[in-house]
């Protein structure tokens, strides 16, 4: 597509500020202006990353965090999507479920942490449950809204052109709601990481959040900062993946 091709300048300009900050940070750390116990130098953080990679700890914690995020996201996302579809398409389902879902939605899911620990202990179930719960509502709301806001005239046209229920759904309703559904998914990815960070920090024996909390006990500043950076990278990468699919699925919108 035209306009998508970036010149070398456009490619590098967004990275000027991060690069400058890291360079300044490194220089200030070397000069001693930033004490090591407040903030370790970038080079030390990289070194910590390398060390933990060699011992295999890092990949283990990252793996378990990713697994929790993915499983929770799939369960919550699929449940939100299915309820959104049902309530968006069928009037009875809407009447039956929507009010209850709206009530549950208004409970901050992180407030359930004490309860969830009582129910499931600090094992995997509690983390996956919290992530799924957090992801469910944004996906639900946006799927529901996307279906409700489809142009009724297009549906009428589809019926007049002899589409049956299945064709109507796959050719008009689902693509019509897609942009809103994708907004919900992108938003829920943010919720997913946030929930996981909190859950892992409070109650876990593995995962990036646990790695950070554990490092705190041993005053390993470099590992703490490394954990934060890994979360940031996870968030950025998942958003990029979502954006990629958005571009693919909404090609007609450009």
């Amino acid at each position: 597509m035209k306009g998508n091709r970036k010149g070398p300048l456009e490619k590098f300009v967004p990275w000027f500020i991060p690069f400058f900050i890291i360079a300044a940070w490194q220089l200030l750390s070397w000069s001693g202006a930033i004490p090591e116990r407040i903030l370790p130098a970038p080079s030390q953080i990289i070194q910590a990353g390398i060390d933990l990679t060699i011992t295999g700890e890092l990949s283990e914690h990252m793996g378990i965090s990713l697994w929790r995020a993915l499983v929770g996201f799939l369960i919550g996302g699929i449940a939100g999507f299915v309820f959104g579809l049902l309530n968006g398409v069928f009037r009875f389902a809407d009447l039956f479920f929507d009010t209850s879902i709206q009530m549950l939605r208004n409970i901050p899911h992180l407030a359930l942490i004490p309860l969830v620990i009582m129910w499931f202990g600090i094992g995997e179930t509690s983390k996956v449950f919290l992530v799924a719960l957090g992801v469910l509502f944004p996906v639900y709301i946006n799927t529901y809204h996307g279906i409700k806001s489809i142009d009724k005239k297009l549906i009428e046209m589809g019926k007049a052109y002899g589409l049956n229920g299945k064709e109507l759904f796959f050719q008009i309703i689902l693509p019509g709601a897609m942009s809103s559904i994708l907004v919900g998914i992108r938003f829920s990815l943010g919720v997913m990481w946030l929930t996981l960070i909190v859950a892992e920090t409070i109650s876990a024996q593995s995962g990036i959040g646990y790695m950070a909390m554990n490092a705190r006990e041993f005053m390993q500043m470099d590992v703490i900062v490394l954990s934060i950076i890994i979360y940031a990278l996870f968030g950025k990468i998942s958003d990029m993946i979502a954006k990629y699919f958005e571009g693919k699925l909404l090609k007609w919108n450009n």
Binding site: E156, A160, Y161, G162, L163, L250, W252
Partner: protein, 266 residues
């Protein structure tokens, strides 16, 4: 799809009534349309002309009377009809080809291609509707309607949003496809000139009833420069505005004087 096995349907509208809440839009309307006839319906906005079209399409239920297609009462959706809407109603997420294929069995793609070629958009089959001009969008909508070989084409002000030149082009295109395939056609329009240019008969709806039923006896292709053409337009406009036209054109309804306006043909 040889043109000889395509034909129009006979539409008989008898005492049709339609109410929205308490407002009566159509109050016992009678209209007989022969198979293969091209009828234009004009009238002020809100007179019920679009409603009548939607009733014939089966998109809404009638509150009284009957609509018969070749003698069979219409129930539910009118499967013999295809409708073209003013706003096109193309699916923005489908390319031109897939829009035309809507509702078509998957093994009949070549027919879609043929329809697209007929409306002159062969080069654009892979484009999304957002890349097309208003006139091109309506061409796609026309192809989408015609690909099903309808025996009744319903046109709900399909050219209303187009510029004058594109409109003329589209009128010619619709006329030529109609001449070729001989489906019955009902055009709702607010443009009297368009109605006279394209139809066999102009119907004026007023207060939920037919106020004028004016056959147009002009040779095709119609010349807007023909004095008889402007007479028809003026007469119908005068009738819509409820004023007497300056001259008496009552002879227009008289078929005996057809030769007067038809010097080339006869």
């Amino acid at each position: 799809m040889n043109s000889h096995d395509l034909q129009g349907v006979d539409v008989t509208i008898h005492q049709v009534k339609k109410k929205y809440d308490d407002r009566e839009v159509l109050e016992g309307l009678d209209l007989q349309i022969r198979e293969g006839e091209f009828v234009a319906i004009v009238g002020k906005s809100g007179c019920g002309k679009s409603t009548l079209l939607r009733l014939v399409a089966g998109l809404e239920d009638i509150n009284g009377g009957s609509i018969n297609l070749d003698g069979t009462p219409l129930e539910g959706l009118n499967k013999q009809a295809r409708m073209m809407f003013q706003d096109g109603r193309l699916l923005p997420w489908k390319r031109v080809m897939d829009n035309v294929c809507l509702g078509l069995p998957s093994d009949e793609k070549d027919r879609a291609m043929q329809a697209i070629t007929q409306v002159g958009l062969k080069e654009r089959i892979h484009d999304y509707p957002s890349k097309l001009s208003g006139g091109q969008k309506q061409r796609v909508a026309l192809a989408r309607a015609l690909v099903h070989d309808p025996s009744l084409l319903l046109l709900d002000e399909p050219l209303g949003a187009l510029d004058a030149l594109t409109r003329l082009e589209m009128q010619r295109l619709i006329e030529s496809l109609w001449l070729e395939r001989k489906f019955t056609s009902i055009l709702v329009t607010h443009d009297v000139e368009e109605a006279v240019a394209i139809s066999d008969r102009v119907i004026l709806i007023e207060n939920g009833k037919i106020a004028l039923n004016q056959p147009i006896h002009l040779p095709r292709p119609r010349q807007r420069t023909n004095p008889a053409f402007s007479m028809y337009v003026e007469e119908i406009l005068a009738r819509i505005m409820n004023r007497k036209s300056k001259k008496n054109y009552s002879m227009l309804v008289n078929t005996e004087t057809e030769s007067l306006f038809n010097p080339i043909n006869n």
